[in-house]
């Protein structure tokens, strides 16, 4: 039996196993068959975890045979960004310096997904240490966008986005420090969420900027996004910044839709230089659509948010330079073989082990924190961060959800921005303020480009919510998704998914939604 995972939701996979239409083993076969078919072109994975997958699948099939129920994500094939630890795998951060690093404990979010029943398929490619917006900064080569193989999937969680888009897995986890989940979500036409800072434990994810990092998920639908959040959210004694709150079922209120929500289109950011006209138009159309969906729609300005990019490129590298000090060639990671003394060992192991963007960020952060420059850069950036927070506080007095594009452009060509770090940084102008304020946001596809230079590429819409207001942004996202009926299968994938790999009758996406409607 061959399943097409690009046409199956998480619930359809779980229900199919529970109802004995197929087995967890079939799901594993389908996942690796698709990987065999497309991975050479997409390169979403750094490592495949076939043995772990077979073990988990065998356990699930035995449970079903014994008449036991399955947890909410039972049998769902999932991939993890390669900065998340899982015993039995390497955790490389797509860096030479961690190329041979073996995980010695599990990341809490990964563990929670496994406890929710998922099957681990592999570890995903990323920009080295999550520094980048294209997944080109990987020591193991770039990931390609399933919508156009010559284009980037976004980054830094580009592998996690591409493997869901390509139907290699059904769900994946990524991490988002300045847009690293939402921007690749936008560029690959997937649903991509960055939860509120403190919602999800950061234990076991390799730290980039500790005051900004947050784990979230990729999926094809909003309902699956809610199911992923159900699995990963919650307090963790291993992360002191994790916020203790009652558990919430994020699927519970989806069907209330956008009715009665106050939705604010962020007008001044839409007028920023470098925002593609088509992206702007699609965002405005989305605002209009929310009006027809029963929301109260208005416009709002965030005058300080445009300074987010500058503040971020002080704060994030400063925190990163401090976090990356641990890679010293002593306890783990790459070490030069012929060091004369310990300083020689540090300086050469680090220079040879880190890639160019990591070196750039470490240098930038070290400079910003160094004597004589601290107040001018880091001190000012932290104050600017306060202004950005206040902008959002003001906006959320009048609105429940704010709308912006996720990315100023659709997917760009591989190599197009690689030579100009600053041009690459501008990709995250809409996503960065959300991290600085610690609030939540989800990116959902809102249409395809028609522009002659880059036709048929997904455009992402960002829905921003206040602290812990995930339920509101997901309700709005769900209503929008039902209305536009975006086809998440790229034309390339539709061609590649050869005859005989069609969706299994009776378990397709339409039926899955029908089931949840009951």
């Amino acid at each position: 039996m061959t399943l097409d995972l690009s046409k199956l939701t998480a619930s359809a996979v779980r229900d199919g196993i529970v109802n004995k239409e197929f087995t967890a083993r079939d799901v594993v076969e389908a996942s690796y068959a698709r990987i065999d078919a497309v991975e050479e072109r997409v390169h979403a994975f750094n490592e495949l975890t076939r043995e772990l997958a077979d073990d988990v699948a065998a356990g699930i099939d035995a449970a079903v045979m014994a008449g036991e129920g399955l947890p909410p994500l039972g049998g769902v094939p999932v991939a993890f960004k390669d900065n998340m630890n899982l015993v039995g795998t390497h955790t490389t951060c797509s860096s030479k310096i961690l190329q041979n690093y073996k995980s010695v404990y599990d990341c809490t979010a990964v563990r929670r997904m496994l406890d929710a029943g998922v099957i681990p398929i592999g570890k995903c490619n990323m920009d080295e240490f999550a520094f980048g917006s294209s997944t080109e900064n990987s020591a193991f080569g770039p990931t390609h966008n399933p919508w156009d193989l010559d284009r980037v999937p976004g980054g830094s969680s580009g592998g996690s986005a591409a493997c869901v888009s390509a139907g290699e897995v059904v769900l994946s986890l990524g991490s988002d420090t300045g847009g690293s989940i939402r921007q690749p979500g936008a560029l690959t036409g997937t649903v991509a969420v960055k939860p509120t800072y403190g919602r999800v434990s950061r234990y076991g994810v390799v730290a980039f900027a500790s005051s900004l990092d947050q784990i979230g998920s990729f999926s094809k639908t909003v309902e699956e996004c809610a199911l992923s959040l159900n699995a990963i959210c919650g307090d963790d004694p291993m992360d002191a910044t994790c916020v203790s709150r009652d558990t919430e079922d994020f699927t519970a209120r989806l069907q209330e839709g956008a009715t009665g929500l106050r939705i604010g289109l962020v007008r001044d950011m839409l007028e920023l230089e470098g925002v593609d006209a088509e992206v702007k138009a699609a965002t405005e159309r989305a605002a209009d659509m929310f009006r027809t969906l029963g929301a109260e729609v208005g416009e709002v300005d965030l005058p300080s948010a445009q300074h987010g990019l500058a503040a971020y490129y002080v704060i994030a590298p400063a925190e990163a330079s401090s976090n990356l000090a641990r890679f010293d060639g002593i306890r783990y990671g790459y070490r030069v073989p012929d060091a004369e003394d310990v300083i020689d060992l540090y300086t050469r192991s680090r220079a040879e082990g880190f890639g160019p963007e990591s070196i750039r960020r470490i240098m930038l952060g070290t400079y910003a924190l160094s004597a004589g420059y601290y107040d001018a850069y880091y001190g000012q950036a932290q104050k600017a961060r306060t202004l950005i927070r206040r902008d959002f506080e003001r906006a959320f007095r009048d609105y429940d959800v704010l709308l912006t594009p996720t990315s100023p452009t659709v997917a760009f060509k591989i190599g197009e921005k690689a030579a100009d770090p600053l041009a690459m940084y501008l990709s995250d102008v809409f996503t960065i303020p959300v991290n600085l304020a610690g609030i939540c946001a989800v990116s959902i596809p809102c249409g395809l480009s028609a522009n002659g230079n880059a036709p048929g590429l997904p455009i992402g819409l960002q829905l921003i919510g206040d602290h812990f207001a995930e339920a509101a942004i997901l309700r709005a996202a769900w209503a929008f998704e039902q209305e536009i009926g975006f086809d998440t299968t790229s034309p390339w994938l539709a061609q590649t998914a050869v005859a005989g790999r069609g969706p299994l009758a009776g378990t397709g996406r339409g039926d899955a939604e029908a089931k949840t409607d009951r």
Binding site: P237, D344, S370
Partner: protein
């Protein structure tokens, strides 16, 4: 905001990175252009604004002070580039003259 070659070398020393002359030259240009963009925040009126270090308010979080197992020694040494007798092995620290820098 231009950054000098000397600044780049000083920062590289602080960051414990042994850069080639070519890297120093390239970083001087790249860091200058990034810092020029970043310097726009210095034009904001930030007088009297409190800095934000953390976006979500949390007060001190403490756990019960009870012993619990950590990583086993073999596991902790699993990724060590070199180890000996249960310790991480490193080259000598400082020169023979006793200079600890």
């Amino acid at each position: 905001m231009a950054i000098s070659e000397q600044d780049v070398r000083h920062v590289a020393m602080l960051a414990r990175l042994k850069l080639t002359d070519e890297q120093v030259g390239q970083l001087q240009g790249e860091l200058s252009s990034i810092l020029e963009h970043v310097a726009t925040i210095q034009n904001l009126d930030l007088e009297g604004i409190e800095p934000t270090a953390h976006a979500v308010e949390v007060t001190n979080v403490v756990r019960a002070d009870e012993p619990r197992p950590g990583l086993d020694r073999e596991v902790a040494l699993l990724n060590a580039p070199e180890c000996e007798n249960g310790y991480f092995r490193i080259p000598r620290i400082g020169s023979e003259a006793g200079d600890a820098s």
